[in-house]
């Protein structure tokens, strides 16, 4: 911590004194660091005067009213936050009587105001990374930002692990070029590697000092696991057993925020609480599929203290401070300790009172995970994701944007982008390939020189070929790609019998919201599921709409869990393995769970910390293989895909598999126990790391997950447009064409820069190859095989998932073969 003193003008000290307040230490630390000429990263839990800490230097600089032009640019991940800060900042400014103008700029700001802001900016502009990218792509960017002294980055931890962070880093590198005197202040929640975050903001101006400041003090959070009188479920994610106890907890608190991991869990919990809501408590629902107006209504009611509880997903992980929340509940797996800590931080923003949180595991494995999370939080251990190398797709977008701003020399732009932390190790060769991609697609077959978007002038400058290029760029800006969604419309039930669609469905019902299109690909007509707090039946699809009717059943048939967005963190997984491997610690677990583990020890073996347990047993007409890597659903899905391919080659005749956060179960016709016993199947070979070579390659060739990843890269990089001027391209059309583009490109140029970008993303993202690789190397020659006569206690949860969870897989040739056989049988009169 730097020992410097801050200088506050009297108008500000008077304001504090008049209210009987004093500036907090961390607020003064930021000011002192700024006044010493440094940039700084402030690590502090949510709330507690962070906004003022960020803006005190600005108020100090501008107090005398002499500054002209844009002084401070504030960037947050949420436009709601920008608008909220505008409000929070205006109050002290007007109370102090300071001549400071503050304006927000988001996608909702009127076009005329946005145009004026470019020419005559306010002193303080509050905006998002996407708006920054737009602003610096204008030829007059230098005029607007030349005067800039400060950049304030809010909730930086939430940005740096995503492509929005890459875009922001590139934007910062440009800002530092436009305004060399600019100093950066970043605000972040507690993270695993604060030094990396400091480097992240220091990279654009390596000669400037960058301080790392920690806010000290604050009461430690109080975290406990729900002690239930009920029976803990073996599997599932609904936590129905806890609804009554949760309802009573809500009654005992002022305002409760209930976090779940998926939209369908939110639906189930919301419905469950209202089923028993005798006191008619105002309980609301908030998730990403509800309409924007609905969500705004909930947020407004929350701000004014009208709600007793809100059931929500990660949509409320960040955002406006709500002082009145006195309890945070996490229903279902906490997934990671940093994630948990940030959610807990949503309760009680008064610094000196502890935040209180309650964990509600929805099944027995989650009890272990919750226990691990409580320990990790007590030790203050952080397992947040580190910022990672930047994507080539985002770089391509930025390169085009910079060409729209001004013609550039490749040498200069290369030097500039390497001052963005995620691109600090970018080679010149890669940069040139990205530039070539932006200009003509970067193909080995030079077919598109005549259509080039960027042209190299004789004096060595890259410039856009025509003004339409800039227009297209501005319409495709940003890195947030929506899943293809369909509107869900409520219609009258048609009294469906078993059968098929024969005619159009009655139109004109109310739109309930939107849902991912791929979900409907798994439904049959008449299937029931939960949406918008009610149970509905699937009536059919037409173009971009799914039709549903009100269903009069109690239990939806399709749980539509689909997994959460985030996998179990490596750190919590390690702790869960340790708890299982330490029978001495089982005493602190609920009796039901401890008994379950003892039973596993007696009937099979416990998975040890550094090995992989593989159980094989017959059940019904199938043979099962269950393993327990604890590496998260995504890595397990990839493992499942690759193992099934191998088992097929080894003639073990696999039929399907299902993956959970903790385990993977594969079933098939071959007697796996016998194959292993007789040495015809070697587990060491089956699980050997070389599956990440040729097998992975062969699978990627046709993998739907790879295609989904490619689609995002293709849109972000500007290969395909997200919309045309005037007409929004539907998500469906983009999906279809991006799959085809992938096929054509992968077959002809598998080392194209965009395929490379897709591989990088897939390795970390949907396929989680990175983590799978680490696991395979950890368990090499440490596989414990346990043949059993029947299912083991530990395998029960994952076996219960079969039929409830989507059985994951690619389009199957055998499905068509089976259907064809069925048709022949039918024709022969055999059924």
């Amino acid at each position: 911590m730097p020992i410097l003193s801050a200088h506050l003008p009297s108008v500000i000290t008077d304001w504090f004194t008049k209210r009987g307040w004093a500036p907090r230490q961390h607020q003064l630390d930021v000011l002192a660091s700024y006044q010493s000429g440094a940039s700084q990263l402030l690590i502090a839990p949510t709330g507690a005067g962070k906004t003022l800490a960020g803006f005190l230097p600005t108020l100090t600089d501008l107090a005398d009213g002499r500054f002209q032009g844009l002084h401070t640019l504030y960037i947050s991940p949420l436009k709601a936050l920008a608008v909220d800060v505008e409000r929070n900042l205006s109050t002290p400014i007007s109370q102090m009587g300071l001549p400071i103008t503050v304006e927000a700029r988001t996608g909702d700001t009127p076009a005329s105001k946005r145009a004026r802001q470019r020419v005559r900016p306010p002193h303080v502009l509050l905006t998002t990374p996407e708006q920054l990218a737009l602003l610096i792509s204008h030829p007059q960017a230098e005029l607007m930002f030349g005067s800039l002294r400060r950049v304030v980055l809010d909730e930086l931890h939430a940005l740096v692990t995503s492509k929005r962070g890459d875009l922001l880093a590139l934007g910062l590198a440009r800002l530092v070029k436009l305004a060399p005197d600019v100093q950066i202040t970043a605000l972040s929640a507690t993270v695993a590697r604060p030094d990396l975050l400091r480097d992240w903001i220091a990279q654009p101006h390596p000669d400037r000092q960058t301080d790392l400041l920690h806010m000290t003090g604050g009461a430690p959070p109080e975290l406990r696991i729900l002690e239930t009188e009920e029976r803990l479920p073996w599997a599932g994610h609904s936590a129905v057993y806890a609804h009554r106890e949760l309802y009573q907890t809500i009654q005992r608190h002022r305002t409760t925020l209930l976090f779940v991991n998926t939209r369908s869990q939110a639906e189930m919990l919301f419905q469950g609480l209202w089923d028993i809501n005798e006191a008619m408590l105002p309980i609301a629902l908030h998730h990403g599929s509800l309409s924007v107006e609905q969500r705004r209504k909930v947020e407004a009611a929350m701000t004014t203290g009208k709600l007793k509880a809100v059931v929500c997903t990660s949509t409320l992980d960040l955002g406006i401070d709500w002082g009145d929340v006195d309890l945070v509940v996490q229903v279902g797996a906490p997934k990671g300790s940093s994630r948990m800590l940030q959610r807990i931080g949503r309760a009680n923003h008064r610094l000196d009172d502890p935040s209180r949180a309650l964990l509600v595991p929805s099944n027995r494995f989650e009890v272990l995970e919750c226990e691990a999370a409580v320990e990790a939080v007590a030790e203050g251990h952080q397992d947040s994701e580190d910022p990672h190398p930047g994507g080539y797709d985002v770089l391509a977008q930025h390169v085009l944007g910079m060409a729209c701003a001004d013609p550039f020399r490749a040498d200069d732009l290369y030097a500039e982008v390497t001052r963005a932390w995620p691109y600090r190790d970018l080679t010149r060769q890669k940069f040139d390939r990205v530039l070539d991609f932006v200009a003509t697609g970067g193909y080995a077959l030079r077919a598109y020189e005549r259509y080039a978007r960027l042209k190299l002038t004789p004096d060595g400058l890259w410039r856009i070929a025509n003004p339409q290029v800039a227009q297209q760029y501005r319409l495709n800006i940003g890195t947030i790609i929506e899943e293809p969604m369909v509107r869900v419309r409520l219609v009258r039930a048609r009294g469906l019998k078993q059968g098929r669609t024969t005619g159009p469905i009655g139109m004109g019902g109310r739109v309930l919201g939107e849902m991912e299109e791929y979900f409907f690909g798994t439904l049959s007509l008449g299937d029931t599921f939960m949406f918008g707090g009610e149970i509905v039946a699937f009536e059919g699809m037409k173009d971009n709409e799914a039709f549903v009717s009100r269903a009069f059943s109690k239990d939806p048939k399709i749980p539509s869990y689909m997994g959460g967005k985030f996998p179990l963190s490596t750190y919590l997984a390690e702790r869960v393995r340790r708890i299982m491997d330490s029978p001495g610690e089982w005493g602190k677990l609920p009796d039901q769970v401890a008994d379950w583990l003892r039973l596993q020890r007696d009937l099979s073996v416990m998975p040890a910390r550094d090995s992989l347990l593989v159980e094989t047993f017959p059940r019904g007409s199938n043979n099962f293989m269950v393993c327990y890597p604890f590496e998260g659903r995504l890595a397990h899905q990839t493992l499942g895909m690759l193992l099934t391919r191998r088992l097929e080659r080894m003639r073990a005749r696999p039929l399907g598999f299902v993956a959970s956060e903790y385990a993977l179960a594969i079933w098939g016709l071959g007697d796996l126990s016998a194959l292993i016993r007789t040495g015809r199947l070697s587990l060491d070979e089956l699980f050997s790391e070389d599956m990440l070579g040729d097998d992975l390659e062969a699978w990627l060739d046709e993998s739907a997950l790879m295609k989904r990843t490619f689609r995002n890269c293709a849109i972000i990089s500007g290969l395909i447009e997200r919309r045309h001027p005037g007409k929004e391209k539907s998500g469906r059309q983009i999906t279809m064409s991006s799959d085809i583009i992938y096929d054509v490109l992968y077959q002809h140029e598998p080392d194209h820069i965009l395929i490379e970008a897709t591989r990088h993303d897939a390795a970390r993202g949907l396929l989680d190859i990175e983590r799978l690789g680490q696991m395979l190397s950890r368990i090499r020659h440490h596989i414990v095989h346990k043949p059993l006569h029947q299912v083991s206690p530990l395998a029960v949860p994952i076996l219960l998932d079969i039929g409830k969870e989507p059985v994951f897989g690619e389009a199957r040739e055998s499905a068509m073969a089976d259907a064809a056989a069925e048709l022949i049988q039918e024709a022969m009169g055999e059924r």
Binding site: A447, Q472, R653, G670, I720, E721, L745, P806, A819
Partner: protein, 235 residues
């Protein structure tokens, strides 16, 4: 060394019987008419990716070559002496003139080796300078070959709609392009490597078919599969 899959599938071509003629639906999406030694294909959409490039979207310029390779393989394997393309062979009216020299040479080799009949489609309504004959529509052995399907005519063979089917089996679905007919109207899947496909349960197909006589043949990796219509779902 990897051994072959556990359950070997005999590679067989089902027979598609339509309007008293026997056809062989191939996994590439072509329909082979053995008694006439004629290969029927629909919706090649040559130069589709390149047509995006001129609007600033630099899609990979390899789709035409891929479609040509498919066509060469089908012609060689079947030994067809005649090729009939059911319209939308070129994505834009001027695409034929903008082929890369390499693609143009391959296409010329095909038109020299077999008799080619190019029916016009909505994407390529005018005759072009590629070898063979350009026609709006063709009557042959009681069949009418054309681009766009229409109602009320028997023996109509068309393309245009790019049909696909989604099959639900064992709780999972598989979506592939397909041949679809009701013995009066037959629609071929799109053959071009850059073409998407539309579910036959979607509104574009409403009213075209007599549902109770519907037959659907889906494209697999190495063969095609006739599938029960009651197994099909939307999306």
């Amino acid at each position: 060394m990897p051994s072959p899959a556990a359950i070997p599938e005999p590679i067989e071509t089902p027979v598609l019987r339509f309007a008293a003629h026997n056809f062989e639906p191939l996994p590439s999406g072509a329909l082979y008419w053995r008694t006439r030694q004629t290969l029927l294909v629909a919706d090649l959409h040559f130069e589709k990716m390149a047509s995006f490039a001129r609007r600033g979207q630099m899609l990979p310029p390899y789709d035409t070559a891929m479609t040509l390779a498919r066509l060469e393989t089908d012609l060689r394997r079947t030994g067809a002496t005649r090729l009939i393309a059911l319209g939308d062979s070129f994505h834009r009216p001027d695409s034929a003139a903008l082929l890369t020299p390499a693609d143009r040479m391959r296409l010329d080799a095909i038109t020299e080796a077999v008799e080619c009949i190019w029916l016009s489609g909505n994407h390529d309504p005018m005759p072009h300078a590629i070898g063979g004959t350009c026609l709006p529509e063709l009557e042959l052995d009681g069949l009418v070959l054309t681009h766009e399907p229409r109602k009320g005519q028997t023996g109509l063979v068309a393309g245009h709609l790019h049909p696909a089917a989604r099959l639900a089996m064992d709780g999972r679905t598989t979506r592939k392009p397909c041949f679809v007919h009701d013995n009066r109207l037959l629609i071929l899947p799109a053959y071009g490597s850059s073409t998407g496909a539309l579910n036959i349960l979607s509104s574009a197909f409403f009213g075209l078919f007599n549902w109770s006589a519907l037959e659907v043949v889906m494209l697999g990796r190495d063969r095609t599969y006739p599938v029960p219509v009651k197994r099909l779902v939307g999306g």
